[in-house]
């Protein structure tokens, strides 16, 4: 029973690490309908920039500020050179463009900052805490708290600021938003910058755990099932999806894995996602669309 509880709690907490990555996708999809595959590369780029600056001797806060500035500039650049020329193209074309973008970002990250692995110490002790007999990771607790805090901040941003409200207007009805004078290009720039910053947070936490290196860009593959379970358009969905995937994947590897040879975590969440989608085709919290002929 303890093993079950421990696996469940550990899984739920680990799942929020996936949520962090998924939130970045949701933001961009919500505002511009782009399924941004480059989110993983942007995450890598952000974390690598941050740690490189840190190693150059910048203090923590300054490194963070400079990285955020670079991400904002990057967002403007991406909007001008990729999104604007491709406006009104099919979602598929935009998706492929972000794949191309991921090559550019990865090439830039590795070419400019080198391929070496960097350690990042955020000062979070990763020693086990015991509640009763149940082992809980302190690091995962911090990550979970960060994810929830981030979701709350974004919710406040969306609900209470002028930018947030315009953004929701764009997400609701692009044409109507345009007609009342909302600057769509500016909104896109802001959203991509915010998604970059979310990527930075996720990259720092993942980087602290596994080292900042190229494979950070692969965590997107973990975030995709989270994304489709939660729905492409809901930040809350990303959190819930993360919890579901984390718990299910840990339980499956522990209880089912040994009977079929183990190592099932790469595909299990996707099958889970298909099962969820079959019942709710737009994810748990995604917007359903009406189909008209």
């Amino acid at each position: 029973m303890n093993l079950f509880l421990e696996t469940l709690i550990g899984g739920l907490l680990a799942g929020t690490m996936y949520s962090l990555v998924a939130i970045g996708f949701v933001l961009i999809y919500k505002a511009s309908g782009v399924f941004n595959f480059a989110q993983g590369s942007i995450l890598l780029f952000a974390a690598l920039t941050f740690v490189t600056l840190l190693e150059q001797g910048l203090p923590f806060a300054a490194a963070l500020a400079v990285t955020i500035l670079i991400l904002i500039l990057g967002a403007i650049l991406i909007e001008r050179t990729v999104l604007r020329p491709l406006a009104n193209r099919s979602p598929m074309t935009l998706f492929m463009a972000t794949l191309g973008l991921s090559y550019v970002v990865e090439g830039a990250a590795q070419g400019l900052m080198g391929a070496q692995v960097h350690a990042l110490d955020l000062g979070i002790e990763d020693v086990p805490i015991f509640i009763g007999d149940v082992l809980i990771s302190q690091f995962d607790l911090v990550a979970a708290a960060t994810a929830v805090a981030l979701a709350l901040v974004l919710a406040l941003l969306f609900n209470n600021t002028r930018i947030g409200i315009s953004l929701r207007a764009v997400a609701d009805d692009t044409r109507a938003a345009l007609s009342i004078g909302i600057n769509l290009n500016r909104i896109w720039q802001i959203v991509w910058a915010v998604a970059g910053i979310v990527g930075l947070v996720a990259g720092m936490l993942w980087g602290a755990r596994q080292g900042i290196q190229f494979s950070l860009s692969l965590v997107v593959l973990k975030a995709l099932p989270v994304l489709i379970i939660g729905g492409f358009t809901s930040i809350g969905g990303a959190i819930v999806g993360g919890l579901i995937v984390g718990a299910a994947e840990n339980l499956a590897e522990t209880y089912v894995g040994p009977y079929i040879g183990g190592g099932i975590t790469p595909w299990f969440p996707y099958f889970l996602a298909i099962a969820f989608l079959y019942i709710r085709p737009a994810g748990l919290f995604g917007e359903r669309t009406l189909e008209r002929v």
């Binding site: 099919s90 090559y103 593959l221 489709i228 040879g261 079959y278 085709p281 737009a282 917007e287 669309t289």
Partner: protein
């Protein structure tokens, strides 16, 4: 915005529902003559074996995915996984079943079609990007399956499959030229079948579903059955491509050859080449397989030794990405359209009016 993006069907027509009336009647025979006679005469082993063979196989894989995505409108990122099914099933039929290679490849295509059919089942309810991401289930599941159970690779030590000697009905086809001819023949026949398929009633049902599946249902097309059929046909092609990749091109393979980057590569081919176009697959495959080499040669020629090698290699990758974005911006309907327009212009040249 979100309303539009839930479905993947583009607002712009991707392929004409009617075929262009004026078709150059000599183009196809000329192309075949070129491929079967002229190319082998001038090509050396490197070009035939290491460039043209993989190019043809990738074109075939592109064709497979294009039937599903470009014609029937269902996006999949599982191409690599289905290619793996083809390769491992072929190996299984030869090693465990003792069948000759051509029969094994054909049966492997059918097995892959079955696998594709299974993974196509959820397509009645799951659509658009949701379906695309779900298709990664196939990709990762097959990667896991074929390296987890040693039976699939006949208990070899490293999960690698290899066949003794490349033979077709007792003839040794192991030379670069032999491998080229085998690939070319298979690809030519399958392309011919596909070209006819998309013009048949089935093909038109595919396109109706792509353009709007609700509307297709209204006019009486059995949508679900047709979608699943598209998955099966597409997977058949991918399975054959996978088998060729493993045993005609590489000579051996492991799941690593069919990873997720292969799926992306095949998707690139059809998008760059042109969705809903047969010739687009060949143009796209040429682009995807030759462009990195061209960039590499150019970069080595100008910069090797002067610039840090790591920077140089990464820059090449970035340039590849930039070119992809650039082509997407400049040529929305793929290179096939570009070539067609060019052809039309040439046929009118020099009297344009």
């Amino acid at each position: 915005m979100t309303h539009v993006s839930q479905t993947l069907s583009s607002s712009a027509p991707l392929a004409p529902l009617t075929l262009p009336a004026r078709r150059p009647r000599l183009a196809l025979p000329a192309l075949l003559l070129l491929a079967f006679v002229a190319v082998p005469l001038v090509g050396n082993d490197y070009w035939l074996g290491a460039i043209l063979v993989p190019f043809l196989i990738l074109s075939l894989a592109g064709l497979g995915l294009n039937l599903l995505t470009g014609y029937a409108g269902q996006t999949s990122l599982g191409s690599g996984g289905f290619m793996a099914v083809g390769a491992f099933a072929t190996f299984g039929f030869v090693v465990h079943g003792g069948l000759p290679l051509p029969v094994a490849v054909f049966l492997a295509g059918l097995v892959t079609a079955g696998a594709g059919l299974l993974f196509g089942l959820p397509s009645d309810r799951i659509k658009g990007f949701y379906l695309m991401v779900s298709s990664l289930a196939a990709q990762f599941f097959f990667e896991w399956l074929f390296q987890k159970f040693p039976w699939f690779y006949n208990y070899g030590s490293s999960g690698t499959i290899a066949l003794p000697r490349f033979e077709i009905f007792g003839l040794n086809a192991g030379s670069a030229l032999g491998r080229y001819y085998v690939t070319l023949a298979v690809v030519a026949v399958l392309t011919w079948i596909a070209a006819n398929l998309v013009r048949s009633q089935t093909g038109r049902s595919f396109m109706a579903i792509r353009d709007m599946d609700t509307a297709a249902a209204v006019i009486g097309i059995p949508v679900y059955r047709t979608k699943v059929l598209a998955f099966a046909v597409s997977s058949f092609y991918l399975g054959i491509a996978g088998a060729l990749w493993a045993f005609v091109y590489l000579g051996s393979a492991s799941v690593q050859s069919f990873g997720i980057s292969r799926s992306f590569q095949v998707l690139f081919i059809i998008i760059i080449g042109g969705m809903g176009s047969i010739s687009g697959n060949f143009i796209g495959a040429a682009f995807i397989s030759l462009l990195p080499l061209a960039i590499d040669y150019t970069a080595q020629y100008f910069f090797a030794g002067h610039v840090d090698a790591g920077l140089l290699q990464n820059t090449q990758k970035a340039i590849f990405g930039v070119l992809i974005i650039w082509f997407l911006i400049k040529e929305p309907d793929g290179l096939a359209r570009l070539f067609r327009n060019l052809g039309e212009r040439l046929s009118n040249w020099p009297l344009r009016f």
